[in-house]
């Protein structure tokens, strides 16, 4: 543990003390906490000053009944992380980060895979569930350099995750993910126009064991769409071990103002491909999932306000392999059996009101989302339309050696329509009951209240101590509840 912490600290230390900003650490912290900072996509045009921050903390979240049982109904996690962003000179900026997280995901149900949100509907599951121990490392870095009117940059992002359970069924999932991007751009007409290429690789190796001498307490299911599963390889033997291989490719274009004030726009397309293999059956390619993501963001900002609109479209297309029976386990053809369209539109604003002793800020937001989800055989369908609205308010003050941020947010989520079709025909009655209840929750409405504070005290001209506290509570219309708190302490350079 000590060694891991040292690695994280050493990862951040090379970036300290190189900042070209002449501001003290208190002023830099206040500028960074301003809700208007951080909008810029290119490091060079980020108005927030340089910083390095190292934090350690604890995060606790619990629900009385899980909204997404596949992710668990609770999380307890210790973390230590280091983040830095520095402008080395007028034409060069770098950023870097590292984190270590160790904890427990509680009450994970109908899922034994890691990264459910990436991989669904093609994950493995069991009907017993339980807690999953987790340990995650992540590292990231980015560099951008300007040459005249042109600038180039690159970024790398790596994550390693280990999740396991020490009672039956005992999944052990080892995940690694590496993403990189290259950016090239041109400054023209008061704006920077840039293009970014993304590429990434994902791998998850999953082994599931049963060690109870009294016998196996469940079967492992290779899930497909909306509660269906690939029956041939279900059970508790070696054919339940899976491997997920993923590839990511994408491109994005970005327009942003050089001065930090004016119109900005971004648009991008990303394709993820995840193939699920059965490890002990000649790496049989059981299913392929293609996730197409299209995003567009546009807005305008000046020194006091920001208005932004965002549209996201995601299409998940799942293909199941027809695996041969002669022992080679090749897929003779892939059948497109699953599809999900998700479209969301969102508008938000940041309105800053500078006062004599503090900066007040309001962030109203409004959004809508529609989702169409279908499994073709046997036919199952789920459609959902929802809207949400919320507002955040914060007060930021910098007085002497103290920087104090107090914020609160209130959000409401309203499900306007939900249609669920899960016919009992050709479905295991137990699974039908589980998934009817699981998707039944999706018709719920809820309200969320968040409160947070951050207190920073300058210790010297170049160093400050930061303590942050956040609390969150959610109440569903059906009476279910969720709560969470996080606390961290750290140093800012």
């Amino acid at each position: 543990m000590k060694k891991r912490l040292l690695i994280l600290l050493f990862a951040a230390l090379p970036l300290t003390g190189r900042a070209q900003d002449s501001l003290g650490v208190g002023a830099r912290t206040a500028a960074r906490l301003n809700p208007l900072s951080g909008e810029a996509q290119t490091l060079l045009y980020n108005a927030a000053p340089s910083f390095t921050q190292v934090d350690a903390g604890y995060l606790l979240r619990a629900e009385d009944q899980a909204f997404l049982p596949q992710e668990g109904r609770g999380l307890g996690e210790f973390f230590v992380k280091a983040d830095a962003r520095h402008r080395l000179n007028r034409n060069t900026a770098v950023s870097g980060g590292a984190s270590y997280r160790r904890g427990v995901r509680r009450g994970v149900f109908m899922n034994t895979s890691s990264d459910w949100e990436l991989l669904y509907p093609y994950h493995t599951a069991d009907t017993v569930g339980g807690n999953l121990q987790k340990e995650q490392y992540s590292f990231n870095g980015a560099y951008v350099h300007r040459m005249g009117r042109w600038f180039v940059g690159g970024a790398l992002d790596f994550r390693a995750l280990h999740e396991y359970r020490s009672v039956d069924p005992r999944p052990r999932n080892i995940t690694s993910e590496l993403n990189g991007s290259l950016t090239a751009g041109l400054e023209t007409g008061g704006h920077a126009l840039s293009a970014r290429l993304l590429i990434g690789k994902y791998h998850q190796s999953q082994d599931i064991e049963f060690m109870d001498p009294r016998g196996h307490n469940t079967s492992i299911l290779h899930m497909t769409g909306l509660g269906q599963h690939y029956g041939r390889f279900s059970g508790s033997g070696s054919s339940t071990d899976a491997r997920f291989r993923g590839l990511t490719a994408g491109a994005a274009f970005c327009l942003e103002p050089l001065s930090g004030e004016g119109a900005f726009a971004r648009a991008g397309y990303t394709l993820h491909r995840y193939v699920r293999h059965i490890k002990n059956q000649n790496e049989a390619p059981m299913s392929r999932l293609y996730v197409h993501e299209v995003s567009a963001v546009g807005g305008w900002k000046n020194g006091r306000t920001l208005y932004r609109g965002t549209v996201l479209y995601e299409y998940r297309r799942g293909l199941e392999g027809v695996l041969d029976v002669k022992g080679a386990y090749q897929s003779l053809t892939d059948l497109p059996l699953y599809g999900q369209h998700r479209l969301s539109a969102r508008a938000d604003a940041v309105l800053n009101f500078p006062g004599a002793s503090a900066l007040w800020s309001l962030r109203p937001r409004l959004g809508a989302e529609t989702l169409q989800n279908a499994n073709l055989n046997p036919y199952r369908a789920l459609s959902l339309t929802a809207a949400d609205a919320g507002v955040s308010a914060c007060r930021l003050s910098h007085s002497g050696k103290w920087v104090f941020l107090l914020e609160g947010a209130l959000d409401g989520h309203f499900t306007l329509a939900r249609r669920l079709s899960l016919p009992s025909e050709k479905t295991d009655p137990a699974l039908l009951g589980i998934y009817s209840a699981l998707y039944g929750r999706w018709a719920d409405h809820w309200g969320t209240l968040r409160l947070g504070s951050s207190l920073t005290r300058e210790l010297s001209a170049g160093m400050a101590l930061n303590v942050s506290l956040q609390a969150e509570g959610r109440l569903y219309a059906t009476g279910h509840r969720m709560g969470g708190v996080s606390a961290s302490i750290g140093l800012i350079f």
Partner: protein
């Protein structure tokens, strides 16, 4: 257009395009050993030994009625195990107990991945 074909194919492969027809129009033609014409075939799909089962999804299908000497149904493309005992009513009016087991296990299951498939089922007459 032709010069863009490799690019279109590459994009198609990358994005997961494939033929969208997931169904196979299956025609089963039961055949008596002596070639007698079958007027009707009764198969009790509720019996465990009588099945038309997709090997990968384990989905089972009921046997339809014999029409014009053929059983026609639409199935998901895949490998299928087929096995049944039934009663064949011949055009002469006689009834015979028959059995089909040529595709009864996973190892000798039949591959149905074309849009249309016709299978001849040579029946065994039970004493």
């Amino acid at each position: 257009m032709r010069k863009f074909l490799p690019l279109i194919l590459a994009l198609c492969l990358l994005s997961g395009c494939s033929r969208d027809n997931i169904w196979c129009q299956l025609v089963l033609v039961p055949q008596m050993p002596e070639g007698e014409e079958i007027a009707a075939l009764t198969i009790d799909s509720s019996l465990q030994g009588n099945y038309l089962r997709n090997i990968n999804t384990l989905e089972t299908y009921n046997f339809p009625a014999l029409v014009g000497g053929r059983l026609r149904l639409t199935v998901l493309k895949g490998f299928y195990a087929i096995s049944f005992d039934g009663v064949a009513e011949l055009s002469s009016g006689r009834e015979k107990k028959v059995r089909f087991t040529a595709y009864s296990t996973e190892a000798n299951s039949v591959c149905l991945v074309e849009d249309e498939c016709t299978l001849t089922l040579p029946l065994i007459v039970l004493k």
